[in-house]
């Protein structure tokens, strides 16, 4: 074996800041200090809600960005976790509500969602491209109608209400500041995990399968098994976000998992960009801000048109979403003048 010799001028061993990524430090500072200058409304309705939808978008980014599998069923997976919490925990609807403690319900709900995601994936990976979108849309639609029409398990149209984040460690996690930090903690965990795993063996495997599944088979990989495992991991993130979502809403109903919500997740991921895990969070902030304030700008009848036009403008200018826009602007911002002053 030939010894590998470092080339002259090779970069020095990375420091801790290099490993974390220098840009993450100011970002973390802003997010941690956000409650200091944000009102309760901005803390939960914008901050918390964006982080939750950012996580669901992140689960799609894992599948689509790294795995090349565009899914419209991520909100369905989140909804499965949400329904599990409502049924197994406590609710005010007088149906089910077994009252299991949160520390059993939450892991169970997240694992159930991830398992369901793996099952959806197992069906969807038989297809590629547009057909994956179609099959996951079919699954999402079927889940919506099933939840709406089934009263025995899902309590039909009204679903379950009175769902609350638990109190533990002396903190009521439903209060705005704790709930924001809960969402931030979960989102940061999911983001860091995805960023780390993107360079793990499995992360590289998934990207290689996206690029060339045939070659992956030819170097010994069971492509279907790896894709299904990616669905399982994405399901963990979507499931965790689903639990936060129903705590945020205080309820879960078929409306939580309808087709409009499914498309919303896709829009968030596409607007933000699928090339980096930060993309879905950027997309979620833009979408949540637009959905909250467009109505104030153009009134109740036209706000969806404005939202649509903004999305169209972003995708038209940059097909890679906001991340693509940034990567195009970056060289111009970093450009040094050819000559220093006169």
């Amino acid at each position: 074996m030939t010894a590998v010799v470092s080339a002259p001028g090779a970069p020095a061993r990375p420091t801790v800041i290099d490993r974390i990524g220098a840009a993450h430090i100011p970002l973390a500072a802003v997010l941690l200090l956000y409650p200091a200058f944000a009102s309760d409304f901005f803390l939960t309705q914008i901050g918390g809600y964006s982080l939750i939808f950012g996580m669901i978008g992140l689960s799609l980014m894992v599948l689509a960005g790294y795995g090349g599998m565009v899914s419209l069923a991520q909100i369905t997976v989140a909804g499965i976790a949400g329904y599990a919490v409502a049924i197994l925990g406590l609710n005010n609807s007088g149906v089910h509500g077994f009252g299991w403690p949160w520390w059993i319900v939450v892991p169970f709900a997240v694992l159930l969602a991830a398992t369901a995601s793996a099952l959806i994936g197992w069906i969807a990976v038989r297809t590629e491209g547009i057909y994956t979108i179609m099959i996951t849309l079919a699954i999402a639609t079927a889940a919506f109608y099933f939840a709406q029409q089934n009263y025995t398990i899902f309590n039909g149209f009204p679903g379950f209400n009175g769902l609350r984040a638990p109190e533990f460690w002396g903190v009521n996690w439903r209060d705005p500041v704790p709930f924001y930090y809960l969402c931030l903690g979960c989102a940061a965990l999911a983001y860091a995990a995805v960023l780390y795993c993107s360079r793990s063996t499995f992360g590289l495997t998934l990207q290689a399968i996206r690029d060339n599944p045939r070659r992956m088979r030819a170097i010994g990989y069971h492509v279907t098994a790896h894709k299904v495992f990616a669905w399982f991991l994405a399901g963990l993130i979507a499931g965790l976000a689903g639990v936060l979502l129903i705590w945020f809403n205080g309820r879960v109903s078929p409306g939580t998992i309808n087709v409009a919500a499914a498309i919303n997740v896709l829009v968030i991921a596409v607007i933000g960009g699928l090339k980096h895990p930060v993309g879905p969070f950027l997309g979620a902030v833009v979408v949540v801000l637009m959905q909250t304030f467009a109505i104030d700008i153009v009134g109740a009848e036209r706000f969806n048109t404005l939202i649509g036009l903004v999305f169209l403008a972003i995708v038209f200018v940059s097909p890679d979403g906001l991340l693509g826009l940034w990567s195009r602007l970056k060289p111009h911002l970093a450009q040094q003048p050819l000559r220093s002053g006169p």
């Binding site: 030939t2 590998v4 499995f202 590289l204 495997t205 990207q207 170097i219 010994g220 069971h222």
Partner: protein, 260 residues
């Protein structure tokens, strides 16, 4: 003639690959029919034939990319006819492709690392590979063997055609192969790159056998110790490189007449 070929001809060597009556039909089109061949362990075989002779289909049948319509395939004595492609790879079979099949979004080193990991138990690891990782060390070693050490962190999509062909070979060398199918590895290479290719093939450890499909006779005959000729989906002649080169029928079909 190498010892393994001598052993094969005497019928005493262990066969790396045995094909019995392998056929592959695409509807009414007969791409392969009645292919039977024995290749000893460590033997280096060239398969020649004009375009459409069925050479690449033969490779696809051996690797499981296409299941054969009829016939059986044995790999080191084990019947692999019904195994999926990844199971055949895990038994030590490798291949390269006529048109490079690479991972455009990954770096050169990551690509070779994945090829090394493909046959290990840590394929699903969610941990980043350590610098001391065995697969990473193997990948670095293969990188040097195919002369890509200067491009270890280069994105595959930005490699030149010649470098992509080298990476094709690197992926096939990863993870302790026992037998490799090279599908036109010299396609599109410059004369210098062809010389490098011949050097790489000749430098392979002796226990690694291969079949090479190659239109460049200079390359094919210099890196093989036995040659099979295909035409219209059938094997029609076998012999040493010298016998094949001198055969008038081969020259008629493959070279369009006597040459030299």
């Amino acid at each position: 003639m190498s010892e393994s070929v001598a052993a094969r001809l005497q019928g005493t060597g262990a066969n790396a690959l045995e094909l019995d009556g392998v056929a592959r039909h695409f509807g009414a089109l007969v791409a392969l029919t009645g292919i039977s061949m024995r290749i000893a362990a460590g033997e280096r075989r060239a398969v020649l034939g004009s375009n459409g002779a069925g050479k690449t289909t033969l490779f696809n049948a051996i690797t499981g990319d296409f299941m054969p319509t009829a016939g059986r395939i044995k790999f080191f004595g084990e019947d692999i006819t019904d195994l999926p492609p990844h199971e055949r790879i895990r038994r030590g079979l490798r291949r390269t492709y006529q048109i490079s099949q690479l991972f455009k979004g990954l770096s050169v080193l990551d690509s070779i690392f994945l090829a090394c990991r493909g046959v290990s138990r840590r394929r699903f690891s969610l941990l980043r590979p350590a610098v001391t990782d065995v697969s990473m060390a193997q990948a670095e070693s293969i990188l040097n063997a195919v002369h890509l050490e200067g491009d270890r962190d280069t994105l595959v999509a930005t490699l030149s055609h010649g470098q992509q062909r080298q990476l094709e070979i690197a992926l096939a060398l990863a993870g302790a192969p026992r037998f490799i199918l090279f599908d036109e590895p010299a396609a599109g290479l410059s004369p210098t790159e062809r010389r490098d290719l011949v050097a790489i093939l000749n430098a392979l450890p002796k226990h690694i056998g291969y079949i090479i499909i190659e239109h460049d006779l200079d390359v094919a005959l210099r890196v093989s110790d036995y040659v099979s000729m295909m035409h219209n989906g059938r094997l029609f002649k076998e012999g040493t490189p010298r016998e094949i080169e001198a055969d008038p029928q081969v020259q008629e079909i493959y070279l369009g007449g006597r040459h030299g």
